[in-house]
Symmetry: C2
Subunit: 302 residues, 2 copies
Amino acid sequence: MPKDANFTLVQLRYFLAAAELGSMTAAAQRINVSQSAISTAVTHLERELGVQLLIRRHAKGLSLTRAGERFLHELRGFLTHADDLTEAARSLGTDLVGELAVGCFQTLAPFCLPQLLREFGRAHPAVRVQVTEGDIRTVQDALRGGTCELALLYDLGLDPDLDREVLAVAPPYALVPPEHRLAGAGAVRLADLAEDPMIVLDLPLSRDYFRSLALKAGIEPRVRHRSTSYETVRALVAAGHGFAILNQRPVHDTTYDGGRAVALRLTDPLPALPVVLARLSGVRPTGRAQAFAAVCREAMGA
Amino acid sequence: MPKDANFTLVQLRYFLAAAELGSMTAAAQRINVSQSAISTAVTHLERELGVQLLIRRHAKGLSLTRAGERFLHELRGFLTHADDLTEAARSLGTDLVGELAVGCFQTLAPFCLPQLLREFGRAHPAVRVQVTEGDIRTVQDALRGGTCELALLYDLGLDPDLDREVLAVAPPYALVPPEHRLAGAGAVRLADLAEDPMIVLDLPLSRDYFRSLALKAGIEPRVRHRSTSYETVRALVAAGHGFAILNQRPVHDTTYDGGRAVALRLTDPLPALPVVLARLSGVRPTGRAQAFAAVCREAMGA
DNA sequence: CTCCCCCATCACTTTTGCCGATGCAGGCGA
DNA sequence: TCGCCTGCATCGGCAAAAGTGATGGGGGAG
């Protein structure tokens, strides 16, 4: 019962050269190894396959047996396949074709993905980009599991085994209804909102972040509502249910249901939230990933 | 400039196992090597290809990168190809399918090939037999050059580097025209024909053989005609141009042109000519060749 | 916090591949 | 026919590679 093939690609290539040149000596010169290396390799190959491939005619070099001739024919195809495989593998790492999977934190997605995908698509039209949206944990797991290679995230409790590169910072701001007493102020301190009910964007790590901001400003927020939807939070604020702290700012004030919400700059010395491009550290980035990172840097850094 | 692929089939198989089982440890157990062997092999493969294929998650085994996933897909096809190649090669040596090239001395061919091909074809219908006919030297060169693997020959000055197996013996006989003075004798001594002109079958080694027979019988033949065609010799004899010495005996006396020739047994103590099956010694015979040899033995030995 | 799982790494051993030299056998020219 | 030359096989020695078992680190799970 012949189990699995125990020959080597090297042996196959040696045989190929010898068969094509009709001489082990010539093959040895071409490949830059000794003639004995060719000899033993071919012998091993023949023994392994159980077929005699070459006929050694002492002073007249080699000739192929019928079996050798047919094998040679198959072999060419096979070695081509081997080269193709190498080629494919290398290009998987370096070429700017194929596909690239990126992750994106869900509330960040509508703000930056359109531009990024547009510019990346223009620069590298041969690369198909597949986006995974989700909360920070989900995206982080996707990174770790290899489902995606890059991710746009807030640097909120990211595991240290992720390499991150800060692309931009998103300072927190307060969102209040237009009829709020401070709606016209332009800027407030969080303490000014201490008595107002708060609407919290309730995503795994975000909730802690917003709470910590409030605490840092010295207030204990009275949470009235929670929602996992950014737009719902805006709508609740617009409807007068309370104020919210957010980081991303839409270009207009109108909510889906026609309400309006007013953004107020915060004068507290609060840390801005870094928007980072994260990668699994220790994983060699593909060329596509590097290209995408470059586009991100240019688009968001400027 | 990526020269040529420097990975190993073994490395590929190790990677396949690890990727499929999601664990190097498991792969190691299955393949019966140590875990470290898998680890280093996969690492080398990745370095060689320049692509990261697996993500190592410390306590949770492995997961494939996107590149690894795609590579794995290609790889399966490739390893199947490798198995096919092995399979093909092995069957080239052992299977009773494919083709078999045999050589045959030209004057022997019409006497034994029909039966041999018929019986071999019945026993091994999947093997296509390709016959090369020619004089002894031609067939011998075909053997040496790998053009054919077996040959039916007279053992006439065959090189000692050929393995031969005697299948039958063909005693020489004299052929005379019907009106010859000894045509009714049934048997003669060569000396009785010493004065008759001789017709010689003029093939590279045959001519010397016929001459040596005559000399051995103590006569110096008077050669009237030479021909490279067996049937021409018969016809010349039938037409009264002289006598001939031959080994193969057709079932009837009539020549192509309607003449008749009479065969006379020779009472001289002359060596019979061995009909041999010749192979290049030191060349491993394929299964097909062995099967053909067996058919020859059975058909001609009986 | 502890245990356990899984992979990377290390030192060591075994195997393999290669080299250079030598031997052998056949073609070929003198 | 006799060397000479060519071309492959083989051998001893050596270096590179692969494999082994042990160790360690990092991270999940209870």
